[in-house]
Amino acid sequence: MSAEPLLRVEDLKTQFFTDAGTVRAVDGISFEVYEGEIVGLVGESGAGKSVASMSLLRLIESPGEIVGGEITYKGETIFGLEEGPDGELREREDMLTNEEVRTRIRGNEIAVIFQDPMESLNPVFTVGSQLREFIELNRDLSNGAARQEAIDMLREVGIPDPEERYEEYPHQFSGGMRQRVLIAMALACEPSLIIADEPTTALDVTVEGQIIDLVDELQQKYDTSFIWVTHDMGVVAEICDRVNVMYLGEIVEQAPVDELFYDTKHPYTDALLDSMPRPDRTVDELDPITGVMPEAISPPSGCRFHPRCPDARKACKRIHPENREVARAEGYPHRAACIKHDVFGSDYEESVPIENGAGADQQTPASATDGGRGESERTDGGEHDE
Amino acid sequence: MAIGEGQMGDRSGGPPEDVEAKFGWRYTFAKVMQDTTARWGLYVVAIVLLISAYTMIDSNLSRLTFGAVSDFTFAEALPIFDHPERIPPPGQGEENVPPAFHADGSLSNPLGTDPSGRDYFTRIVYGAQVSVSVGIASTLIGFVGGTLIGAVSGYYGGRVDDVLMRMVETVYAIPPLILIIVFTVFVSGGTPDITYAIIGVGITFIPVFARIIRSEVLSVREMDYIEAAKASGVKNRNIILRHVIPNSFAPVLVYATLQIGVTILIVAGLSFLGYGAQPPTPDWGQMLNVSHGYMHSNVWLSIWPGLAILITIMGFNLFGDGLQDALDPRIDD
């Protein structure tokens, strides 16, 4: 696609500095979001999806910190570093200040829908007043107008008797209703991009369906872009235009949704898809991913997925693949970070397969990292910044 | 009435009710030791406990073996100690000697002497045993009483629960210090004694423990294994004793640790007013009672016991906080 993306993320790195060590929660991800599309960010919990999405709003709290990369939104730099005269990294001059991000980006340009509708609303204020506060803040409306807008929005997201419910408190709403309120909140601020962070995880399946339909409908109506963060491939299939699959802080595959499903390029995506219940498969055919995801504080060397990867070979232990374009579809690149693809030009084919059977199941994160990071080669030649 | 709304445990700070039943001793200990302040708390508690155990054995042994108070105690074998209750004979020893660093002080009485000429350092050291044993004994009374009442109340529910809880709230409604003084004076027939104080303090703590145990029991009661025990015809009493109580223990134990500090505080107040330990027993609160009359002429007499109380309670609080943090994953500092 030729148009400028709404949001461009390049090599974003977010780390948490804890007593136990540095956690590389997001470790160099790049993706774009274009106007009017829904981009999925998929992965198991702990993959860094939420941290990545919060980084976009610079909402990372201590001890976390964005340490590298660039975030550009509508041509403005939300985050960007440059090298200073002494070689140290410093914030670029055109980077928005905290105050600018707060007043110009958060809410009015990029809004968020959080995972837990039960906890996201403040229990001691009425639903309406919370809605109105955010609308007032982000749309420059008067108190009365904001109130009207809030009621309209509540109606829009399918809340019956919005005038009455405006005065009610969150505990008087069901989970699904609260999620509708959060959606109304996001849309009411008229942002260009909404980050939906697992918005349906806490809901039961029927409600989840309703919410997804609602978002789908409203997205088309308002033409808002979405970043849809989820661990559920089913939801992805239903709603997303393009998908980024994350594993341990990295994007391992990036493709339009159909491509991802029908021409999967990364073994992790494969595994995710296999573990997903689908109408075209029986329960017996479900194939959960073996092992657990290692902790981001001590990722395995080489390809981070290799301890769990059915296709892993010796070379995978060594080579840390970047996310490279391996195909193209619908004008978008299909990227994957797996050295089995030719574009990596690695010795994958010659390498000996690793047995990742039952034994690997037991492998603890700590032992998986034996040998440490020092050995890993990065194909992109990137620097470790420790 | 709903005194407390299940938060009665908050008298001294953080609410303990969410503490998880995760209770491996080693794990807990390790977590406590990880935290610097909690570790110091543990050290202080350990030192105070050791001192009181030592002095308790020492004074009892010397009584048993040698009879007269003026006889040898092991403590006296160390040159810095005197006997905590001995008053120097006429012409020997001096009254109201200031601490050693004072111009008129002497090294043989590092903290000076009290108005009767007794070595103040020895008395401060021996005072630990009273505070600590009172703290532990009355907390234990509250703990046991509260556990029983709370368990029965929570387990049976209904009328029993109503009646017991109203009783518990009634006791709670009278400020502890006042209830204990009334109890001590009336029950003792006007001759207050530390024993009455211990029982009195214990009784006033029953409500708090009962409330915590009860809410724990209410959640434990619904668990499968209790249902199973009931179904297989185990007696109520046995269910309560074998299953319900042990499974509700953890939060109460943490609370008990914190409560020891509160107990020492209250007993200090009681003794200060003259309704706790009686002279010549060396007790910090009682020493403050005496030294109050000397606050203008010898300030140090008031300072030392106060500091001793402060440090001891601080130790218990630090340790209790650490224990709570170790057992309660909600907030990690």
């Binding site: - | 009879g67 007269a68 004979p89 006007g190 001759t191 003259g274 009686q278 203008h296």
Partner: protein
Amino acid sequence: MTVYIDGMVRKLPDVSRRYVLATGTAVSATAIAGCIGGNGEDENGEEDIIDPTDYDYDREEPDDEDAARESTMEYTQELERDEDFDPIHSNDAYSAQVYNLVFDGLYEWDAGLDLEPKVAVDMPDVERDGTRYLYEIHEGIEFHNGEELTASDVAHTFMAYQEEDSVNEAQYDMIEDAEAIDDYQVQVDLEHPYGPWELQTMAISIVPESERESEDDREEFNTNPVGSGPFVWSDFEFNEYVTLERNDDYWDDPEPYLQEITFVDNVDEASRVGEIRAGDTDAIADVPNDDWGELEGDDDVRVHISESPSYMHLTFNCRDDAPTGDPDVRRGICHAFSMTDFVESRLGNVAQPLSAPIPPITNDQWGFPLDEWHDEHYPEYDPDQAEELLDGAVDDDWSPTIAAPGDHRGDLAERIVTRLHEIGYEGAQAETLDFGTLLDQTVYNEDPSPDDFQAYLLGWTGGPDPDAYMYNLYHESQVGVNQAHFYEGSDSFHDDIAEARELADQDERYDLYEGVMLEILEELPSLPAYSFHNTMASGEHVRDLHAHPMVQQNPRPVSEYGNVWIDD
């Protein structure tokens, strides 16, 4: 008037403060204090026991009388008043401190406990073998309500104690009749001669008959008294304060400088000392022993002290079933500890040790050879002799209880017990009790067992007449009322006490009391302990303040011997 106070209940008020009295003519004060407590000096040459006469301040006069007449003073009492201000019914020294400024006495005490005429013109004429007293009073004395004080008011006062069933009745029940002869002459008839009459009983505060005619009147009068004294009742809040204003029409000289005086109380001695040190009040009563030096050294504070007729005693349970029924045991206990040492080390600034059952200031009127008695009879610290006396007289597991209030007397009890432990009587114990409980267990105990107590420590405040001590504390009729030693004594012991009470001849009384007191020192039904001084501390700006031996006379803002003002 008549007052007795049970000695020095420090921290909080107790139920029974009492009085009793006497009168006297006598010897001028000599400081006996120093002679009794051994050499009175320690190695450093410092006096262990202070001499109150060292604190007799010279009279002071204001430079600016008008400014002095503007001054107001706050006086902090050491105990709560009972808030009874009718002298007929009032029974506590702290209410008396207030009403003594509102009323004039028929006679009043000087600093040596001699009675001086006040409303009376002179000493009375005695007739009918000491059973009839004739008083002449000053003309032109006016009560605050404007009426004149006449002889019928005086007669009314004398009779009111009996007629109104006053709690003080017992001190006046020898009065047969009192009547006004004319406006300024009163005749009082006694049923029998009464020894203490001239020394102390006739010092009554004169109340106006017209204000106290009905029960309701008297109720009102009790908290809104009308007298003829130098100060007029002004403002009063129960248990909080009493304010008196200067009587600008006072009949006698001198007229007070103070325009206003307010009485408040602070029962906690540390707090009271704090007040005077912090300058929160103008004067406080009762300086604690250990703060004496601190306050004396404070440039902004002046300390005041006077001997007083207070009397602390260690009294034994002398019943046959008690080991302390044996005089050897009593003497053994007395030798086991050193009273002198205790007083020197704990109370040297505010008390003096005793050597006889009367305080030195009472003896000033009588001149008994106290020094001699002390040397000959008073049991000194001698643990060997104590052991010898006790050995065999009591079992090894003898466990006497010594009961005392929780003040300095509790400390003394503790001290005695510690000393008994040292000579092997491990079972001895001190019991410090609330005042009410203590009295219940001792004095009011109808049948005290050896377990209840074998000794107790209490106090008594009398006056210039030995009868106050001998009769109340030693006569058998007072068992269960004022004492509980059950001492039987020699054949004539109780008779002599009773006889001395009803004699008018002071020489005969001297002889009887000498025998009684020597027997007490010999047999030790109780051991005289120490006598407290009356102490006060005032801000340096309070001028011409002088302590008085009778606690109920303090702070004595105006008299022939002082006229207090505040020098700002």
